[in-house]
Structures are given as structure tokens and as C-alpha cells.
């Protein structure tokens, strides 16, 4: 059970983090590990070997019933009715104006049972919002937030170190369930690092045992600090930084998760079709610094003495050894364009570069 201390929530793995000497910080209402030994060391462990993250703070809900797929297809920009059991897909959930309420991952467990994973920062909002819409469908929402924990295992050696036929049987973007020591274990071949790996959902009471077993397989615990550098190198979006309710999926490069073509109705469809027809005014691009210094969320993007945009995410990339970021610029600005980032008054020259910054090497 998640339990409250003061105003911050603890995941079922809180004691494990403390025992490992993690530095705990408040994050989206939770007390979470930001680092165990150091951000760069943990980052490199995931890029080179395998790391694991407590992501229990992310919201988990199951949708049960005959209309489960139809309901999820209605609240998501991607038509979840297309999912066969054992498949998953990423999508945005939008309001009527096409503004992004959250970015979500939906998995089909069987034709009448789905799992939707939402951001920690949006979980209460998304729960209330889903409850508001599900009444019109023959489906019901089952809160799995407090009864389960979630662990992401990521890295080129993640699958190998976890081992076993079950783990190896799951194809990319697919999912499966099994019994683990008498507990239901959900696993999906997905992640938020740009690496191969799994995301696991396990009953809260069994989570510490699973965590320790993964530790014994020499999988490195990784905190939120490296989670951010890893996802930014892979150019994966972070809700609250790169998108919010004032942002639409088409301007942040999420057009691939918006299905207009099959006629399925979904929230925000009309507005998004208008935006698609008119064309977006701004677009989210990848930025790479050409000098020392670190761009951060909120820094202005300057071109020809004019403010032309804003950095939505920025950090230091351990893999590239330079600062990277994402930001909004006018649609016309192409890759290769030189811009400046205003880092608290200091000019940091940067370039618009192809997305992503990091792509994992193809397996031989």
C-alpha cells in the first residue's frame, strides 16, 4: 500500500531506497529516489548494462468490460480497438480543444481487460476524468495504483539479466502476465530510456522481493535524475515540461499516435482535424549546444536578436558530453538551423538537430 507521511506518498519500495542510501526528493506528491550513487554513473549503467527504476508513482488503472476498448479509444488519440490481446500502444489523451491532458500507455490484457498507465503528476486528474467519461460505456475503472508497484528494468543486458522464458517471450511493445511466487506479474517490453527492457507491475506486498531479486541479478538501481537524462537523450517527452493542456499532439511530434483515418471518434478529434488542416504554428525540436553551458526548461530561444521560442526540457547529456534539450520554434525552422539559447543572460549557441539524440545500436 502506498501510505502517506506528512504530505508525501511512499511507494512500496521506499524502504529499499532508503536501505540503498538513495537521496530522496519530493516528486509529483511522492518521496522518490533522485539518485543512489550519481546521475552519470546510473545513466551509463542503463546505456551499457542494465538499470532498474521504481516507477510505482505512475498511475495504473485497469479497464474491464465489454466496451473497455471502445472507452479507451474514445479517451485516447490512438484507436485502442486496434490492439490485439498482448499488445500495447502509446497515445495522448486530449480535451475537446485538442490540448494534451496526459500521455498514456495502454495494454490489452484480454479483450475485456486493459491496463492504462498515466503520469504520476496527472494521476488524480486522469482518474476523475476517466470516471466522468466511463459512465457512458459498458465498462468500469479498476484502480490498481495502491495495490501494485511498478519497476522498469532497462538496458542492453536487461532481458538477459532477468532471464527466463517468460521475459524472453515478450516482443517489443507487447505485454504478458504470469504468476511470480503466487503473485500476478505483468510485464511489457516498453520503457522510457531508449533502451530495450521491461516494465513490470507486481502486487505491492511482493514488490520488495522482486526488487531484491533484480538487485541480485546485478541490475543497478537508478533514480529520477538519470531517468530524465536517459529519456531526453531518447527525445521522449515529459508531461509538464514538453507538453501540457495548452499543447496539442501535432506540434510535439505525436501525430503518429493520432488516428484520424479509421473514422473512430475520440475526444479532441474535431479540434485536432482543424489544426492538422491549418498546420501547426510551432514545432518541438531537438537542440544541441555548441558550447559549454547547460540549457534548461524555460530558457528563451533567440534568433537574429528576436525571441523565437522556448526550451521545454534541457539537461547535460552524459552520452554526448554536451547540453541537449527540446524546445518550441516556429514551424519553418529546419534541422541544421543555428539558434542561441539565453541561459540566464548568457548566450549559449545551439543547433536544431535530428530527433532523437541517442538511438541504441542495432543488435547483431
Amino acid at each position: 500500500m502506498a501510505h502517506e507521511t506528512g504530505t508525501l506518498l511512499h511507494t512500496p519500495l521506499y524502504d529499499e531506497h532508503v536501505r540503498l542510501g538513495a537521496r530522496m526528493v519530493p516528486f509529483a506528491g511522492w518521496e522518490m529516489p533522485v539518485q543512489y550513487t550519481g546521475v552519470i554513473e546510473e545513466h551509463n549503467a542503463v546505456r551499457q548494462r542494465a538499470g532498474m527504476f521504481d516507477v510505482s508513482h505512475m498511475g495504473r488503472f485497469e479497464v474491464h468490460g465489454q466496451d473497455a476498448a471502445r472507452f479507451l479509444g474514445y479517451i485516447c488519440t490512438w484507436d485502442m480497438a486496434r490492439l490485439a490481446p498482448g499488445e500495447g500502444h502509446y497515445a495522448a489523451a486530449c480535451n475537446e480543444a485538442g490540448g494534451i491532458l496526459d500521455d498514456v500507455y495502454v495494454f490489452s490484457l484480454d479483450p475485456e481487460r486493459y491496463l492504462i498507465v498515466v503520469n504520476a503528476s496527472n494521476a488524480p486528474k486522469m482518474k476523475a476524468w476517466m470516471e466522468g467519461h466511463i459512465a457512458n460505456f459498458n465498462a468500469r475503472l479498476v484502480d490498481r495504483y495502491e495495490s501494485t508497484a511498478m519497476i522498469a528494468v532497462q538496458g542492453p543486458e536487461a532481458i538477459e539479466r532477468m532471464g527466463g522464458d517468460f521475459v524472453r517471450s515478450i516482443k517489443p511493445r507487447h505485454c504478458a502476465e504470469t504468476d511470480w511466487r503466487g503473485h500476478r506479474l505483468f510485464a511489457s517490453r516498453t520503457g522510457y530510456t531508449g533502451e530495450d527492457g521491461l516494465e513490470l507491475v507486481i502486487g505491492a506486498e511482493a514488490a520488495p522481493d522482486l526488487w531484491r531479486e533484480l538487485l541480485e541479478a546485478e541490475i543497478t538501481p537508478v533514480g529520477l535524475g538519470a531517468r530524465d537524462t536517459l529519456r531526453l537523450e531518447a527525445a521522449l517527452l515529459l508531461y509538464g515540461n514538453d507538453m501540457d493542456e495548452e499543447t496539442n499532439p501535432l506540434e510535439v511530434g505525436l501525430d503518429w499516435v493520432v488516428t484520424f483515418d479509421d473514422g473512430a471518434d475520440f475526444l479532441g478529434r474535431t479540434a485536432l482535424q482543424h489544426i492538422a488542416k491549418a498546420g501547426v504554428e510551432r514545432t518541438l525540436v531537438c537542440l544541441r549546444a555548441l558550447d559549454r553551458g547547460v540549457m534548461r526548461h524555460g530558457c528563451a530561444i533567440v534568433s537574429g536578436g528576436q525571441n523565437v521560442g522556448i526550451v521545454t526540457s534541457g539537461t547535460f547529456s552524459p552520452t554526448l558530453g554536451t547540453s541537449i534539450g527540446m524546445g518550441f520554434v516556429p514551424r519553418a525552422m529546419a534541422e541544421g538551423t543555428r539558434i542561441d539559447v539565453d541561459v540566464r543572460g548568457r548566450v549559449l549557441p545551439a543547433e536544431i538537430v535530428p530527433r532523437p539524440f541517442y538511438k541504441r545500436p542495432k543488435k547483431k
Partner: protein
């Protein structure tokens, strides 16, 4: 890591070590540990005037940026150019190779207002409670 007794400390977690009228300035082990992996240090060039307890630069870790405050007033006579290529020296050796600037003091008495190593450690203990 114990705070070396041969220097003085600020509440902002900088240190200054005097050699005649020149003070070498850096951040403490506690500060580098709190910041985490340091990736960039923005420091003033030689000839820049710095003022005690005012900002003289910025330090970027992977996670965040922090301001650097001068323990003493004076003129910068040298900065640690090694940190340009190896900012991690601040993490690895905060009281040695990770120094940041050398300042020719304009008012040597300012040092008297700073904490000794014992006072600084007591300050850290009190702050932790």
C-alpha cells in the same frame, strides 16, 4: 570528508584559503555532494571584481544550476582553467584540484567574519536537525 582546518567557510558552502593577500576559493565537500555530478562551472575572468557574499559565478550539475557566492571581496587574479575540461574535479577533489578562483583581497578583515572548519561542521550538524 572532514573540512580542512587551514581555511574559512561560508554558510553558502564556499571556502577560502589564504596565502598572503590572495585567497583561493572553492566549494565544500558537502556542497559538491548535494549538487551531484558537476558538468560546468561558469567563473569570472582575471581582473573581475567580486564582492563578499555576492554571486560570482554559477555551477551546473546534471540536475540543476546553483549560484556561487564569493567569501571575500577583491579582484580575480586567476581562475581554474582545468575545470573547463574537467568540471568533475569539483566532485572528486573539492578542497584541492576543484578550486575555482584566486582573489586578491581588498579587505582582509572580511575573513574574520567567516567560519572556522569546526564552526562549519557544527553549522552543518545544526542545519541537518
Amino acid at each position: 570528508m572532514a573540512s580542512p582546518p587551514d581555511r574559512k567557510y561560508t554558510k553558502e558552502h564556499e571556502w577560502v584559503k589564504l596565502d598572503g593577500d590572495v585567497g583561493t576559493v572553492g566549494i565544500t565537500d558537502y556542497a559538491q555532494d548535494q549538487l551531484g555530478d558537476i558538468v560546468f562551472v561558469d567563473m569570472p575572468v582575471s581582473g573581475t571584481a567580486v564582492t563578499a557574499l555576492e554571486k560570482f559565478g554559477e555551477i551546473e550539475s546534471v540536475k540543476a544550476v546553483s549560484e556561487l557566492f564569493a567569501p571575500v571581496s577583491g579582484e580575480v587574479v586567476e581562475r581554474n582553467e582545468g575545470l573547463e575540461g574537467s568540471p568533475q574535479w569539483v566532485n572528486d577533489d573539492p578542497y584541492g584540484d576543484g578550486w575555482m578562483i584566486r582573489v586578491r583581497l581588498s579587505n582582509a578583515r572580511e575573513v574574520d567574519a567567516l567560519m572556522s572548519s569546526d564552526d562549519y561542521e557544527e553549522f552543518l550538524r545544526t542545519a541537518a536537525e
